[in-house]
Amino acid sequence: MRPADLTPVARDVMKLPAGPGLIFASLVGAYLFNSLPWGGWALLARPDLVLVVLVFWAMHQPGSVGQGLAFALGLAMDVGDSMLLGQHALAYVIATFGAQVLRVRVLSFPILEQTLHVLGLFIGASAVIVLLNLLLGAPLPGAAAALSPALAALAWGPLAWLLYLPVLRRMRRESAT
């Protein structure tokens, strides 16, 4: 195993900030994914891409994506899923806080270890929503619900690659000139 690179890579990899257009488009895309007509156990196992993208930007772009945006997106998800207003907001805010605290540490790892770190964040967010619903008297959701954070964590690698692409391309273009 190669020794962990302890320099905060966040400063290097994302030297060029991603434009607000990219952030907005990625969040809208993730919301569209979440809004697909899921049903039954697929709905329980649905990976919450909005959360994945939110955590990604909270780590890579802490200046522009923070807990305020997390709260707003959470409300939008609650309206979309016709849940009690504030459930997703609370879960997203807590996950974003975790992302802000763990930011430098997580980004110093390669993708695989990053995935394990964010898996913890996603499990925490799912647990918040399930606990809130249990408090409100809903029955325990099926076992498929446990798949959701795992699938979300699996999406971390591909999504990170996809969201890096425009930034990397811009960096290459600017270093060429």
Binding site: V28, Y31, L32, F33, N34, S35, L36, P37, W38, G39, L43, L44, G66, Q67, G68, A70, F71, G74, L75, A76, V79, G80, D81, S82, M83, L84, L85, G86, Q87, A89, L90, V93, I94, F97, Q100, V101, L132, N133, L136, G137, A138, P139, P141, A145
Partner: protein
Amino acid sequence: MIHEPPPFFHRGPSPLARLTFFALLAIATMIADHRFGALEAVRLSLSVLVAPLQQVAGAPAIAFSRLADYFASQDRLMQENRELKAKLLDYAAEAQRSRLLQAEQDHFLAMTPSRSRFATDGVLAEVLAHGRNPFVRKLVLDKGLTQGIKAGMPVIDREGVVGQVTAVGTFTSEVTLLTEKDQSVPVMLTRNGLRAIAVGSGKDGSIDVPFMPVSADIQNGDLFVTSGIDGTYPAGLVVARVTAVEKNTTYVFAKITARPAAGVDNHRFVRILTGQRPPPAPAEARAEEKRPAKDRPAAKGRRQP
């Protein structure tokens, strides 16, 4: 002397302070929504913003099902057509009888001031999606405020009651299904007129009829229809058929399970019954109403010579 960091280190409040603020805000939002239902306006305006995104997301599935409909085999369509014709004949006889009954009822109603217990007006609605909340059983329909839909209206399909409209957006509305936990309907047994309350069990395809004594005359296969005494559901809509009666004398109540007659989980078109009586006023309002009502006959009496 005050030491302050240079301005480029200013990052506003710390993450923990922000977390505290937003978490408290989220909890306050939940309490306001759950306890007081105070955020319907917020929800409505947010839903207007979110609706186009949801329509885009739902479009492929709808387009696919339309395509599937288009290529439906001739065979299946003909069979369906035959079945529908047979059903139409069945219903034609019913309809003629009901026309006679309606005439009779109108005659009686002309003599009494109370209003009809039976369903009259309705709006056809298409099911857009199943609600995407894994904890709640809901449908989203394509009719909303602009079509005059209000919360509380009952929703039926061709077999029976599907549920009740519980939230209305501008162009869409949400129906809570009969099978949703704690969703209750006042029902009546068709065989002997026994009244009961059917309560959703939170499981697919089953509802419970709790608090019926062990001695109650209920058998397998009995049909429950709405009794119409709640003022929300008109009388006579088919609700469910009893599938299991478990009478254990060690318990006070029998355990009765029924299957909803409507295809609660599998239909494309439903009917929202709009010819609705106003919902009963809450207890305090009624108590206040009662007092002047009591006075009214007395006042009349005084006026009459």
